[in-house]
Amino acid sequence: MNDVVISVRELTKCFGDFTAVDHISFDVHRGEIFGFLGANGAGKTTAMRMLCGLSYPTSGTGSVVGYDVMHEGDKIKRRIGYMSQRFSLYNDLTVWENMSLFAGIYGLTKKETEKRATELLARLNFVSERDTLVGSLPLGWKQKLSFVIATIHRPRVVFLDEPTGGVDPITRRQFWEMIYEAAEEGTTIFVTTHYMDEAEYCSRVSIMVDGEVRALDTPARLKKQFAADSMDEVFRILARGAHRGE
């Protein structure tokens, strides 16, 4: 299958005696919005860090955009975008400076940067805020800006780690519209979230419990499988059996 962007087989990560990620396997396809759910401590972040090349697996294999996570981390890093759960732009730089910094980091030339950043600003309706310090923007705007900056180099996959934490419902809605737009353009979205209504927006959802993937399917089929009305219920049914506390 040519359109597999992320492929994971028996991926495991141990910290001493503790198995944070326990033999997980899944595939993510091009243009998919893949929801990666799990309670705190279920191992989501650890798994995601391995896929981003921030941490090496103890065993198992994984490939992202065709490169091995164990040996080709550098190549992966150049082709993915990442937005962390903490706000991580520079507050003391302007919107434009933040954009050109990350464009520069991903190797865009001055000309490309200029073009791409202008285009993204226009899409965000941010043109007037070009020279505003990021620190003085409202949180929702910052998150939207973080997202476009994570995609500034047109990555093939974007990893979003709880991107909408602490954001109001309207902005959350707008945020998801941006995610959809990116997915339609062929970018694969790998997103973790705690909001179960957001899980409904995903093409497919995996739910991790105690380091294992316990369920993986489209939201509609998952609800059917667990005879639940909402993803929230599905999640509760699965998480009830968790042994790891917060």
């Binding site: 921030l54 991580s88 732009l89 730089l93 464009a103 980091i105 991903y106 190797g107 990893f159």
Partner: protein, 364 residues
Amino acid sequence: MKHNFASFVKKETLHILRDKRTMLIVMLIPVVLMVLFGFAISTEVNNVDVAVVAPNRTDGVRDAVERLSQNGYFTFKGYISHGEIDSYLRAGKAGAVLVFAPDYDRGVAQMDAGIPIKPLVRLVVDASNVNTAGSATAYLQSVLLGSASQQSMFETRMLFNPQMKSAYNFVPGIMGLIFILVCAMMTSVSIVREKEVGTMEVLLVSPVRPVKIVFAKMIPYFAISCIVLVTIMMLARYLLGVPMSGGMWGVFLLSLLYLLLSLSLGLLVSTIVDTQIAALLISAMVMMMPILMLSGMLFPIENLPGFFRIVSNVVPARWYIDAVRKMMIQGVSIVAVWKNCVILLVMTVTILGVSLKKFNDKLE
């Protein structure tokens, strides 16, 4: 990937320029310290107020008083009576009181003729500050003795710093301190800030090699430190009149090495701690204290108790300050302090190596 390194350096420079307060402090502290140590704080005896008790104001007495008041280190506060001595000293109106014997002139004459005499002048000194009291006494004696055309078996020559200016001594010390402050403290805080805020994570997910992130951080701080270095050297040369007879280039070169060492120390600290406050504390406690106490800046290394003398060997500032002092004041060239240079170079390479390794290990 040249472009991404340049954008990093630009980013770091912007961070520094935007933070005007820190910038101002970094630029002003050296100047303030130089002026403070150069003029205000000194271990020299300056402006000692001297009052005189003289029952008979004979020619000899007047002659001695005249010499005192012309001497820049003493201020003649006038003649007082015996009964006032205590109150003058207590009130701080005088730091020392000279009491001349009634037959001072005759005594001096006898002394000149080689006839043994009883003391002619009593020196009453406020010894609440031991240092000033000690040197004031010695200096007063020499000024007065110089008057009596007395033969001495000693001829003293003070080399390199004949006026015994303490500012000369402080300049190298201040340099040793300032660069640690600017380089080590600021780089460590700046790296740790990114860890704390979470931006470091995003940088690490990017294709930029961690080493580049670190070097890009060092460059603007290095530039600032160079400006500070030039400022200090100019102040030392033209405001404080430090001779620098060994040439400025040697001092400059060695200082560049010391800057690198300080930057590496900052990097090392940033790999150990995770919060800005911890970075500050470590820089202040673990680095500043040894520099103040064990580097020879305030106390001579030779005076340290054995254990601390051994510890002082691992304090980089000790070797730096020692070498700069020799170059600035004794006027030797950088070749003469090659041993210090080699030690500092080895320290720099070791610290940089260890911290780069730790920095990479931390990632996994």
